[in-house]
Each structure stands twice: as C-alpha cells, then as structure tokens.
Amino acid sequence: MRHILSVLVDNKPGVLSRVTGLISRRGFNIESLSVGPTEDVTLSHLTAVVNADDVAYEQITKQLHKLISVYKITDLTDVDAIERELVLYKVNAVPERRNEIIEIANIFRAKIVDVGRTSLTIEATGDESKLKGLEDLFRAYGIKEIVRTGKIALSRNSKD
C-alpha cells in the first residue's frame, strides 16, 4: 500500500541522507521525495511516498522516529490532505497541432512555459489523478521528457 509520509526534520547537512538511507536500508523504495525549508528556518519538511504494507510501514516510522534529526512524522495517507506535485512536460508539437495541445493545457489549467520549433513545454500542478490525466493525453502527441518535483502534502484539518 502507498503511504505519504510527512516528516519534519532538522535543517542540517546530512539529514536527508539519514532519512532516505534509513528507509532504503530497511528495504523500501522511495517513490517520490521532496524537501524544503519550513516557516522555521532550522527545520525542513520532507514528503516521501513509499510502498509498504501496514506492519512494515509502522516499522519505518518507528525507526525514523529514533533518528535524533527527526521531529515529527505525519502519515497523510488516510487523513484528509492536500496533495500537490508540479510537473514539466516537453511534448512533441508540430506547428499544425500546437493549438490542440494548448487547448488541452488550458482545460487542465496548465501553463505553456516554452515554445520550440517542434515542441511545447507545459507546466502543471495538481494531484495525482489530474497529472496522470494530462500525461495520458500528451502521450498521444509523444512526450519527449517529463520532470516532476515529487509530491508535497499538508493535512487539511489543521487545528490552527
């Protein structure tokens, strides 16, 4: 089962490798990962998506808790959370088909960020299903390249 882990860690060198090293050492593949500083500059927020059954997932979180650099772990899998990811698609676009692609992008509220002679680069933000939908549509034209930021997430029902 897929789990979205939201981890608050020390914003110090080496902390990322402590966290990711621990997860991979215990035999799990990290499907997606994003890290960045938080409102408190001494802390970073790390969002990781891992595939693990419930027992294994419990073990990962318990082990992560033991790291001195880890402050807080939230499992955003089952809670009501806002998930976002930013994706850049470079799509094959001969001049006569450009408009079709731009139209698709508009429907999905994606932005055209670069226009080449035979390609268009589109920036899209959203949750997994939206981005998957876009990707499927672009495939029909041929996708040259995709880069993604990795998922970030926040729980909705925050107390403040």
Binding site: D10, P13, G14, S17, R18, G21, L22, R25, V55, E58, Q59, K62, Q63, H65, K66, L67, I68, S69, V70, Y71
Partner: protein, 720 residues
C-alpha cells in the same frame, strides 16, 4: 506508597517450592536456594528509580569543571569536555588529523589513554569497558584509515546497544570533499551503525555537541555516537563553557510505562498458567535485576535468557532456565514453545532466539517491555506492548501484583519444566567419549566452578567456544558475561576483555577465545602487556573455524571449504614474544592445574587448550527450523545419549564423510543414539583394539578430495 509495601514483603517472596535436585547433571538450578536469597531483592534504595547519571547527566563535574570559562583551543576543549563528563579512560590511536587532540591530551591529569595496536581493537576495548562498567566507552582516532578501522567496532556496539563516544579527526573544513590525504566520509560510512553522529561545524557548538553526544549515547536505548572533528577547528580558540543540560526536543525516550498497559499486563500475568520471562540485555542496561527477580519469585515464573541477557538473572536461581534459542537448552526452548504467556523484557526476538517464526511459541500471548518502541511488534506481535524503562515498569508491575495479593497459579507448569530440565541436561558425564581428549564442555564447566561469580568477568569471542561458554559458565550478576551478540564479531572478545579488565580492575577477566577469533586481534597482546592488564585468554584450540565447520558438516555434506586453520601458530611462543605467560595443554589430566595456574597468575596469561575439531555444539536448532525441533539434546530418559540427530547423518544420499566417521566412532553423537560401543582406535572391554573393519576411513579418504580430516588424523597432525 506502593513501592514501600512491596519492599516490606519482598523477604517472603521466595516462596517455598521444592526444586528437584538434579544429581550428576549439568543444568541450571542445581544449586540450592541459599545463593538465591543473597540475590533476592533487598530493599535497595532506588528500586524502580534511576540515578541522575542514568538519565544522561554528566558523570563528571559538568559545568563545575575547573576549566569552565577558560580560553582554550578546540583540541583542548575536546579533552576538557571529556573531563567534564567524568571520563577516566580513553582508548585510541593517533595520526595527523588527531595530532592536536593528542597534544591536548598530553596535559590531562584525569584521563589515561590506552594506546591500542589497531583502531578496531581500541573500539572493542572501549566497548568492553562500557559493557563491564555501564559507563560510556570513549575512543579517539585519526581521519581516513584510522576512522574506517573503527567501523566494525562501532557496528558491534550498535547491535548490542553499547554506549560509545567515538571521536574521529577529520581533514580541515577547507579541503573536505576534495579527496585530500586521509580523508574519508566517516559520518557517511557509519550512518547506518550509529545512534547519532556529528560533523563539527564550528567551535561554538563543540561543548554542546559533546554534552549531547554523551546524553544520547547513554540514555534511552544506548548506542554509539560519533563526533567528527575537522582539524582546523582543533586549533580555533573558544571560551570553554560546558553545559549540564541538553535541549533535544526531537529526542525524548519514554521511561515511564503507560499505567493502563501496566494494569493490563498485571491482569494477564495473574491469569497465566504457563508463563515465561524472556530476558535480554535490556535488563542489564536498565539495571533491573532486582525488579526482575522480584517478579519471577512473586509469580514463580521461569526465566530464559538471551546471549545478551546472560547475567541479568542469577544462574543459581532455581527459576533460571538459562540460554534459549539456537544453542539454548532443550528445556528452555520447550518452555518457550509451550508457554501461554511470554513476558519479553528488553529482548528483541532475534532469529537466533525464535527459530522459524511461524512455529515460535504458538500458544503464547506476548507482553513486550522495551524502551525502544521500534522493537515492539517488529518480529512478533505483542498483545500488551509497554514502552518504557524496565526498572520502573517491572517495579510497577510487581507492586501492583503485591497490592492485589496475586498468587502464582502455575505449579503444574513449574513441575513440567523441572521434569524437562532433569531430562535434557546440557552435559552428562556418561557422554564423555574419548578419554584421552579434552572435552570442551568440561573445560568451561571447570573454569566456571573456579571463578568467583562476584569477582570475575567472562568475555567471549565468536564461535563454538562462545556457545559452550554461554551454556556452561554460570553468571550471578549483570555485566559479568560479555559477548558480541548482534553482530557476532570475531575479534571482539580479546580486546573487549582488555577494556573490561581496565574498567573493573577488581575482577578476574577471562576471555574464552577460539583459535580463529583470537587471530583477528592478536596484536592487542601488546596493549595488554604494556599497560599491565592481567587479562586471561583461554583458547579452545581446535585448529579450525569450527562453528562454520560444524555447519558444513551438518548442512553442506561435509564439504569443508576453507575452515581448517592448520598449521596454527604456536600461541605459547607468541606469549614469549609479547612478554606474556602461558602454556598449552593436550591432556585432560592437566586441565585442573593449568586453569589454576592461569587464574593465579597476575600477568597477562594465555592458556592454549587443545580440543578436537570434530566436536559439535549441541543442542542445536537448525536455521529455518522451529524451536521445538531441537537436535542433539541429551536425553537421560533413554540413557543420556544425544537424540534427534540431523537426518543428513542417517539417511542422506551422499552422507558427509564426517558423518560416517562419526558413526564409526561409536555413533552416539551422530546417527545412532543407542550405540554405545567403543570407537575405532579405542579398546573394547576385553582389551582388544577396535579396528576399521569396513574400511570406512579408507573409502572416505578416496571420496573426499578436500582436506577434510577425520578426528584420528588431526590428533597426530595437531602440532608439527
């Protein structure tokens, strides 16, 4: 107050129950209740409570250090920090990037530095010191190779939850990351095997880092902490300001057990008919022997111990069933298997204990008490999980049981366990099979009898000798049996024994070594000699990596790939080279006096005891088998023979050469438990010599391309 009440009644906790005397048998509980009462809880002042040092405060003067406020260099501050933490011994090895630290050490009056002869030795020495004393072990080494040489030692300590502070010199900050001379990313290399680590970034954080490191290493579940110090920081100036407190919001171990879960545990214990206390190293770390003993006695619960838990509960106590698991006794393993309640105390259900998980204790509920929440439910689901410090949790359970006037209701269980204990001893004098050979089990039993359990520490290397030591050396107190449990590090025992002897000069320290393991850190003989550490090394010399050899015999059809060590160095000559004393014995008749000479010597001493390489450690639960599938246990009910020997001996299509040979030598150990006849080369009752009529030895010699040597040959080939 509950605790007081409990203390008042503790005197009568040793309820009268008749423990069968096991005449002529080697088994736990042979001794009377007299020793037990000595060890029974006596109102020690801090029952269930911990001292300030135990919860991580400096064990030295801390901020009251006379150096507080002085202006000094980073290197001097390193030494001053160690002094503020109350460090008396440091184990290490200097080099370029540690030079400034060593220079500062030169002025320390408080700290004695023990110069190891290899950094791995230094770490194991610090580890042995820590295990023997309960205080953190401290190591200083240089960068690059000095640092990488510490890795095995750190991993060993990590697996066994030993508090260590490892200070490594590092190249100056300006050249980090440039592959400069003797640069290694030791923080990165050791990340999976440390509790925490620091790469010092500025001298401003130096004292905080040291305080935190000591706090983290010694509290919660202890472990090694590494501090990497770039050498440019060692010469920067700072005002020495040592803190007493730490501020680690992300690190708050749970000491106090949850009351609701403790109440559940109490209710479950009251209901149990076949309970077992499964005890690991956590009891020793938590200093909870008194509380454990009180619980065991109050509810009459048999205790089994892991390798790390040996000494946590007195061997002489009638409720102690001793070692459990792969080479544990059949009775301890049966008790685990049949139990309806396992109270796991600071133990982690290691595969060496559980065997095949699906067959492990199938009827038992589990109460799992551990300070590390990640251990609970990791391997075996716990019906009642309790995260907390064992000392307090067990005291809480006991006082609740006393308050409720709970009574044990497991008399039939105790009776059954005792029948097993009588029936399946570790050793029986009838099993002695070669009168002219030294029997390893008897060596260790004899040694055990000669040691004062209060004034001795036994340290082991890794292999068969380690398992025999676990089975036969009786330990009455915590921190008196040290062994590499989790990592199983050959080469650990000897340096650890040196460290233990330095930490506990009041104790006789004996290292039980294998000829293989001892050769992994032999160079430390110099460390012992030069520092006048009167450590004793008893080598169980089978000229063989016999634990691996045994597995090859049992599971690889006797294909003895690379496990013979012949020719072995002359260890006695080695003692002369290092200015030790020592001798070798080959005759059983010499054993007793030789052990006396070793124990009475006040210099480093090596006793090389020749044993056969064809010995196996039994009982054994084969890897992948269940704890109920014990092979090779002695069964006195069928005439003190080993039973349930592995099938491979009796009926494998291509029997291992060794199996055939063993069968020839009487067959009692290997294939035919009822054959008690003499062996080839021995005399029959009428004085005639038993010969190899079927030519099995010859046939086997043809078949085996390898050097697999039968016992009879290795006897002559021992020392040339």
């Amino acid at each position: 107050m509950g605790l007081f009440f409990f203390m008042d009644v503790s005197g009568q906790l040793a309820r009268d129950f008749l423990w069968p005397e096991c005449m002529g048998l080697k088994s736990r509980g042979e001794k009377s209740l007299i020793t037990m009462n000595e060890n029974a809880p006596s109102g020690s002042a801090n029952r269930g409570q911990r001292t300030a040092a135990q919860v991580g405060a400096p064990q030295g003067l801390g901020s009251h250090s006379p150096k507080q406020g002085e202006i000094m260099t980073g290197a001097q501050a390193v030494i001053a920090s160690l002094e503020a933490e109350g460090v008396d011994y440091v184990f290490g090895y200097p080099g370029g990037q540690a030079l400034k630290i060593y220079d500062a050490l030169y002025d320390s009056k408080q700290i004695t530095h023990i110069l190891a002869r290899h950094e791995q030795g230094a770490v194991h020495e610090a580890d042995g010191y820590a295990r023997a004393t309960g205080r953190p072990g401290v190591v200083i080494v240089t960068s690059g190779p000095g640092a990488t040489n510490t890795v095995t030692g750190i991993a060993t300590a990590y697996m066994d939850s030993v508090p260590l502070i490892v200070v490594t010199g590092q190249v100056p900050r300006a050249v980090i990351g440039t592959d400069s001379f003797q640069e290694s990313d030791i923080v990165g290399i050791t990340m999976p095997v440390v509790k925490h680590s620091y790469l010092l970034q500025s001298v401003d954080e130096l004292t905080t880092v040291f305080r935190e490191a000591f706090h983290i290493a010694t509290t919660g579940r202890p472990g090694p902490v590494l501090i990497d110090i770039p050498s440019d920081l060692a010469s920067e100036k700072l005002v020495f300001d040592y803190p007493d407190e730490v501020s680690l919001p992300s690190y708050k171990p749970t000491y106090k057990g949850n009351m609701k879960q403790i109440r559940q545990a109490v209710a479950r214990i009251e209901e149990a008919h076949q309970p077992v206390l499964y005890v690991g190293g956590g009891i020793i770390i938590s200093d909870a022997t008194d509380e454990l003993t009180a619980l065991a006695e109050l509810m009459e619960i048999p205790v089994v111990t892991t390798l790390m838990g040996k000494g946590a509960f007195p061997a002489s106590h009638p409720l102690n069933l001793g070692p459990v698991g792969m080479h544990g006794s059949k009775y301890a393993n049966l008790a685990m298997t049949e139990s309806d309640l396992i109270i796991a105390c600071g133990a982690r259900f290691s595969d060496r204990v559980t065997g095949k998980l699906s067959q492990f204790a199938p009827h038992a509920d589990v109460i799992h008490i551990d300070i590390d929440p990640a251990e609970i439910g990791k391997i075996r689901e716990a019906q009642i999980p309790i995260v907390g410090d064992l000392k307090g949790v067990l005291a809480g359970i006991v006082s609740a049981l006393v308050k409720r006037n709970s009574q044990p209701n497991d008399a039939p269980w105790i009776e059954r366990v005792n029948v097993w204990r009588k029936r399946y001893p570790f050793y029986h004098s009838d099993i002695k099979e070669k009168p002219d050979e030294i029997v390893p089990e008897l060596v260790l039993e004899t040694l055990s009898d000669k040691l004062d359990p209060q004034k001795s520490i036994v340290v082991t290397e890794v292999g068969q000798h380690q398992m025999w030591a676990t089975q036969f050396i009786e330990r009455e107190r915590p921190r008196s049996f040290l062994s590499s449990g989790g990592l199983g590090t050959m080469g650990f025992g000897f340096p650890a024994a040196i460290g233990a002897a330095i930490g506990r000069p009041d104790c006789t320290v004996v290292c039980i070594a294998g000829d293989g393991s001892f050769q992994m850190n032999t160079q430390e003989m110099a460390t012992a000699a030069i520092n006048g550490v009167p450590v004793k090394v008893l080598i169980m010399d089978n000229r063989c990596l016999d634990m691996v050899h045994q597995w090859q015999k049992l599971f690889y059809k006797g294909r003895y790939s690379e496990t013979l060590l012949d020719p072995i160095p002359d260890f006695v000559k080695l003692t002369a080279a290092y200015d030790w004393e020592g001798e070798r014995i080959e005759n059983p008749a010499d054993l007793d006096a030789a052990l006396d000479r070793m124990l009475n010597s006040d210099v480093p001493y090596l006793l090389d005891v020749a044993i056969s390489r064809d010995q196996n450690v039994y009982p054994m639960v084969a890897p992948g088998s269940g704890l109920n599938e014990v092979m090779g246990a002695i069964d006195v009910a069928v005439g003190a023979v080993r039973t349930d020997m592995p099938d491979s001996f009796a009926a494998s299509p291509a029997p291992s050469p060794c199996a055939q040979i063993d069968a020839q030598f009487g067959g009692r150990w290997e294939s035919d438990p009822f054959d008690t006849g003499a062996r080839i080369g021995q005399r029959n009752a009428d004085g005639s010599l038993v010969t190899d009529e079927e030519g099995v030895l010859k046939k086997q010699a043809h078949r085996s391309k390898q050097t697999a040597q039968p016992d009879s040959e290795s006897k002559e080939g021992g020392r040339s």
